[in-house]
Symmetry: D2
Subunit: 348 residues, 4 copies
């Protein structure tokens, strides 16, 4: 599978959640991917375009049950798992061995680190497929580009993790990082998924701001593990996620007290200057510019007597989920890395 | 210019306003259009991607002054005029005669009807190129499809006009319309353009609703003119535009008291059932499904003892401006009508 | 109970829903009302300020169970019923007879008309206390002022009903009304109550617009009943409720094709010119000005050759629920009608 | 002026800006304050209720020109200066000496520290009344309570400064603060004032997030000066203000890596446990609970192995401006400190 003319057959498990729906949208936008099947248990039997009206006219199929989809796993060259956290641990052991030519990419938190104890601590219970953990490649594309080609099992990073890693990864072992690194990240409401809940109830969210899972969000696990595997000294985060009254996006702020902003900006430009999906700017990104796209912006600002701050802006469902998944699949299958990802969002 | 493999060279006048910026985005998304030049007077000399960061990486040019752009009109196969209302009246007389092989499409209100008196009444002053008025084709694509091929002068409909016509056009001379037809349309704030003003000041808009230009919005001119040219009986609108706290979109509601909803729905399905960019639904559309896309949804609802209502949902900058402009240009130049328009928006 | 110095003891049934919580807020703001008890079944035993943090410091009590609250009904001079639709039909028959000196005001839809058939049609099932229906006074204060003093059973109007009646009531039998009257009303998300659901899920509501219960919303029942009881000719509504991405407010638009706006405005000024809580304006109200207050704005606009439109703006939880309930209770108990209601909201 | 029955005559300079309009609202809500006059240069001669429709029915006066208002300075017991930054430096020297019995409270940034060099650095030019600087009392009420009684010249803190000081002040000299202290604060759009501008243009703000004046916001001046005057060791802030798509509010996050959250919470409860306008909570505040009110919430959270974070939530126009101004005036004039401030906001 090495040519840009290839047709890649895709299956999507859990296609009616917000992440799954966005994977479907990215499949529709991809010149090489074609949808083989998609599952949506509660909507099984309904035409895709009835459940996801934004995709009306793009797919003619009906949603399958999970069972029916799994039975057709072998028809797909790549399967996207967009299931609730915990479900991939059941599915992958059952199916991956049976279908050795299929590429599996998990968009949940099940296989992001090789650390079962960390998993148990942050995800609230023991891992049910611990022996598979170290067989997955962690798909933070820009930091993992060389190990992706040919990968059959890929764990797509979390949305917060992607935002934080984009801001932080180029600074590892540069002497720029404090211990701990203080970080806030504001998230849009779509990050909480399709199921209505109190924290995403419009009357209580629309003009609100609040923090949650302070200093203990589960994405800490993958971020600290990934960075510490690439760093000479231990990196610890003081990480505060916050709910913002936007629908899409993650806006990350990282403090670098006492560090010169111009040096930080130069490190960012070295790291990302040639990245097709990442813009580096002096100053703050505007969140809206990347909303509903696979793109990211990294910004750097500072004052001579105080130090620097780094920002990153991504779409939680785009670069933070479906967009990065496509990027990883493109690399794994030998396509152009940005195939299906080169389209702009709106100015507003 | 008749093949889908053609490369069409585009010029854009006024490319940094919201409509112009969206035209630029649609050019970037179009497989056959290539940007020859774009003007933005206040931003002349700046790279396009600096002014419109959503387009960073998509265009390498700098913005030109209006003067420099006009001097290069002959290099373009099609020129999009996205100027403030009134400016096209100056530009088109000056340039269109000089460049007889160029297609001109005006996205402002200058050339939408052949009626100079109507123009004077609704736009606050006499038309300055009245002899050109009847040379323009009014580009409400779905209602004007046959006159577009080969058109050199196209007036793109207003955003409200598009929303209202989509809901109303299939009902002309069917006996469904009251006299007058009562219509409301809610608009997003991007319809007011890029210049900050009181009515789009975030603290006063964000949780507000209000009506404006009640019963006298200038789009009445083109809607009533267009319909009455196609109707046996006079059609008058009781039209109330309203400001909603959304960024993009126009949501139109049209009353058909005493009419059977099932018959209305059937008329809509006959009219739009095969339209690639229009979905017909029983019930109400969801505004968000078409936001930031070139698509439209028309919905019909009713109660046996009361009658029917028709809804339409479009993006004011998409189907209501840049999207329809591309559709019109595609037809005028012999491309596939939906070239560059077949991509989905997000579910949220 | 006739002096402004009186202390009125209030009980609130269902105080943790949005309407109940707003009643609590209005009780806190009222110089004569004192909270005797409040029930919140799911939060029974918790301090009021923990459940409703906006009221921290205003009440020292804990929430009671429904059962415990009902047992204390006799301690209250007035009981506000802010229960889910249908529950008041159980409670009032059980308690009102036992406590003949207590005033009962129901904020649900259970007792708003004397018409059990209409109730069955619009509320989806037979009324369970039909013999009580005609003992209730319908509390559209401005149209019912003379029957309220001394009333012991009051049905507070629905939020949409209040918005529509404010716009429509002064026009009954003036020759201004079409048949049917076309009306739209936009509502904020708090109107759907505290329970998260799909239509109030922030990712799907925040930039959305949609209509619902088109031509069959249950508030039609009370509006048409109330008006037809006061009109020589039958009044029918073509009523389309719509969901707007705001938290609070109802913005109503009513069409009067062919009628002179100046005459309509004069009728409104005659009706409301001396009302302390209603402003009459030429043009459109701004929704935000009355949000989170007990006030209303009625506006009139028109064009000479087309006719008129009338608008009203209220807060759905204020004038549309708790505010009007206080107004009604004030009148019923002989207090100054606006006691506890004379405070302004913010400009933004 | 020492009794709660007193009538205090208020003048307001600059009453049609957002801060001035909110001062007017708080005057309307205050049992002891009566409006003597209010100026609004651009709206001079217009009834107050026409310019500020939320106050219709509360004031019968018309707005005066600045000149006419100043001429009546002597009629006021207290004058609120809600002028654009820089104007108070002109007005106070001219009027305060003439009217020695009037209390002056400046809500702009002109007189908040005695440091003219700091002013020049952060406000972009030399101070024009430097000799008055040290005659002002800085009105961070909770930290300055003892010096306010009898004060004739009061500088009301900035909105960000108030949010940051509430979170930080109780921690001075407790060993809890890092050097520097990392702080973010999210602000609503009303903080940018009534004049429309690009950063508050609804289409660009409504779903956006961005940082601005990173590490160099002018409120750093007053916060660092105030704290360092009360601390044994130097306190420096790494402060990143951010624009959120809300209308009202400031949500502050302050990092205390390595510090035990339970100890921090105890310090907060010691400091604020008896404050009538401040709630202390374990966890994060919800921004919306204090919007449009004079109240504040301080929250503390932490993890055993990581440390603590402190949050504060205020309304930028309430506790961050008009509310605190009233609190300060109440203390200065010997009224109950919370007179006119004891009313709740909504739950949503």
């Amino acid at each position: 599978m090495s040519s840009n003319d290839s047709t890649i057959r895709a299956g999507v498990l859990g296609a009616s959640g917000y992440i799954g729906a966005e994977v479907m949208r990215y499949v529709a936008l991809h010149p090489n991917l074609t949808l083989e099947w998609a599952t949506a248990n509660r909507d099984a039997g309904r035409p895709i375009g009835d459940v996801l009206p934004n995709l009306r006219g793009f797919f003619s199929q009906e949603f399958l049950t999970a069972e029916a989809g799994e039975a057709r796993a072998g028809d797909a060259d790549v399967v996207f798992l967009a299931l609730p956290h915990g479900d991939s641990q059941e599915v992958v052991p059952r199916l991956a061995a049976q279908h050795p030519r299929t590429t599996w990419i998990d968009l949940a938190g099940d296989f992001r680190t090789p650390d079962p104890d960390g998993f148990a601590k942050y995800y609230g219970g023991p891992h049910r497929a611990p022996d598979l953990l170290d067989r997955f490649v962690y798909g933070f594309t820009e930091g993992q580009r060389e190990t992706l080609p040919g990968a059959r099992l890929i764990a797509n990073p979390g949305c917060f993790a992607t935002g934080v890693l984009l801001a932080l990864f180029p600074l590892v072992d540069t002497g720029m990082l404090s211990d701990p690194v203080c970080v806030t990240a504001l998230t849009g409401s779509s990050g909480s998924g399709r199921e209505p809940k109190r924290t995403t109830h419009h009357p209580e969210r629309a003009q609100n701001l609040r923090a949650y899972k302070m200093l203990r969000h589960q994405h800490l696990l993958e971020v600290e593990w990934f960075l510490n595997g690439r760093s000479d000294s231990e990196i610890r985060l003081q990480f505060v996620p916050q709910s913002a009254p936007i629908v899409r996006g993650i806006f990350t702020t990282l403090f670098l007290p006492g560090k010169p902003a111009e040096d930080v900006l130069e490190l960012m430009e070295q790291a990302y200057g040639r990245e097709p999906l990442i813009d580096v700017v002096a100053g703050s990104p505007d969140m809206r510019v990347v909303q509903s796209t696979p793109r990211a912006i990294v910004g750097v600002a500072g004052e001579a007597d105080r130090g620097a701050v780094v920002f990153s802006a991504i779409d939680n469902l785009g670069k933070g989920a479906a967009g990065q998944a496509i990027q990883n699949v493109n690399r794994a299958l030998g396509l152009n890395e940005t195939a299906g990802l080169e389209w702009p969002g709106g100015y507003v």
